[in-house]
Symmetry: C2
Subunit: 277 residues, 2 copies
């Protein structure tokens, strides 16, 4: 018997992928958590029916949410990830020697546990690293309790439905602003420039009204809707475009490079227009 | 009744998209030609079960196969498209005022006719433009009969199966070299850096052994396998990286821009490594 998992990424379009096994399936307090073994992409984490990460392409999302902001800040010491229970962003953050403390604020402890079991390579820094603090809690609450605490904050959320809906709201971004130090930087995943144009425009406009510097960049993630994904970076002082590529340390990466740091901000015209008023 | 069209892009993975109507279906001398009306991407051209183009995202492929090479050559007058029966590449080529003659060598006249009927916006320059010459013939034969004739040659082929298999072979690239003027440039679509890594490496190596300058670039095409697509450009004299963005005329485009001309060559590490020996 052939088993195929199909995700309707929109009402009218999706991906379908061959699977050999369901490794994990549970309904947590917050969402449906499934982990399946696929033929094309290795293991795949699916939350509420949406692909979150896979063995084969996880490096793109995790490197690219982490290294652009961390290499824009000249000396990031304290870093927060809101969401990101798989641990991939944390794994990339601790590659930066300047980082003294990387905090994970994930609302669903069951995601963390399932990923520790089934994605050991992604979750590997969630246990036993003294620089990493894993806190099972609401990220919104955490930022309100930690004013002026962080150099960099990353919003590593699911889609803007279910538990993550508050993570795309202007009030939340203001809370992040307040939780950052006076020269802090935030970055958030902001969906597909093909399928989520209104959301990207709104988030960009909201962040631009709070932070002096706001920039959009894109990456290729084949298991995400349309294969093109966006991140929005917002900064109090440092501009990602003013980083000298020659000063960026060469990290152990498969996607990010000092050259790419600048190139990802050069957007196709139909994406660039999402950043205009 | 809901109708969904599913393309297995590899043995183990594909896209599935909702359709409302089949507009055209025929078996030509060379391949199966289907045109369907989708909900997400407008009309979709499918050859031998593989998505070739859609109303919504066609601009990416057609702009990006045409404008990088045409803006690298300082004065392209005579341009050949091998394949490309939908006419999208031709439409972009004639936006360049320097071009005196744009020749389409498409082996399957039925593709041209079906696209004229169902994709009027894509095929619009295939009729009535005195600068455009449409020739229903084997592109391989055409290049062997036109030595030293062209400034730019574009290989706008289907996947390397069926009628297009010869268009990915080293002998064909040597034929293109010979059909180019002493300062000519070629560009070919070269599949997905996620799914077709061996093909990209081989083509890059073959072109590098023939042309002094060979470069790889990528673009986002949501209806193509993995959503990330590559083009390989090979040039006798002009380097696409040495073009001054300030000298590039602003064309009526939705993806290409003078800024993007350079950025598309900055590759993620896992793609960059395909261009190393």
């Amino acid at each position: 018997m052939e088993l195929w998992y199909t995700e309707k990424q929109t009402e009218n379009h999706g991906i379908t992928t061959k699977i050999t096994e369901t490794l994990h399936s549970e309904k947590s307090e917050f969402q449906q958590i499934d982990i399946i073994q696929t033929k094309q992409f290795g293991r795949m984490l699916v939350l509420d029916g949406m692909v979150m990460t896979t063995d084969v392409d996880e490096f793109v999302y995790h490197e690219m949410i982490a290294h652009v902001a961390l290499n824009t800040h000249p000396n990031p010491k304290k870093v927060l990830v809101v969401g990101g229970g798989d641990g991939g962003a944390i794994r990339e953050i601790v590659k930066h020697e300047s980082v003294e403390q990387a905090v994970l604020a994930e609302i669903d402890g069951r995601v963390i546990e399932a990923c520790k079991t089934h994605f050991p390579n992604i979750a590997k820094e969630l246990s036993g690293n003294p620089r990493v603090s894993v806190q099972v809690m609401d990220g919104v609450k955490h930022i309100h309790e930690n004013k002026g605490a962080y150099d960099v904050i990353m919003v590593d959320s699911t889609e803007p439905v279910g538990p993550a809906v508050g993570l795309f709201e202007k009030g939340f971004y203001q809370g992040i602003y307040d939780a950052l130090k006076p020269d802090g930087i935030m970055v958030a995943q902001t969906e597909s420039p093909w399928f989520n144009r209104d959301l990207i425009k709104r988030v960009f406009r909201d962040l631009k009204s709070i932070f002096p510097i706001t920039r959009l960049y894109t990456v290729s993630i084949p298991t995400y809707p349309s294969g093109l994904w966006s991140f929005t970076i917002a900064s109090k002082q440092y501009d990602p475009l003013e980083v000298d590529p020659d000063t960026i340390k060469d990290l152990d990466t498969k996607y990010y490079s000092p050259e790419l740091h600048h190139a990802v901000f050069k957007l196709p015209k139909f994406v660039q227009e999402l950043t205009r008023d």
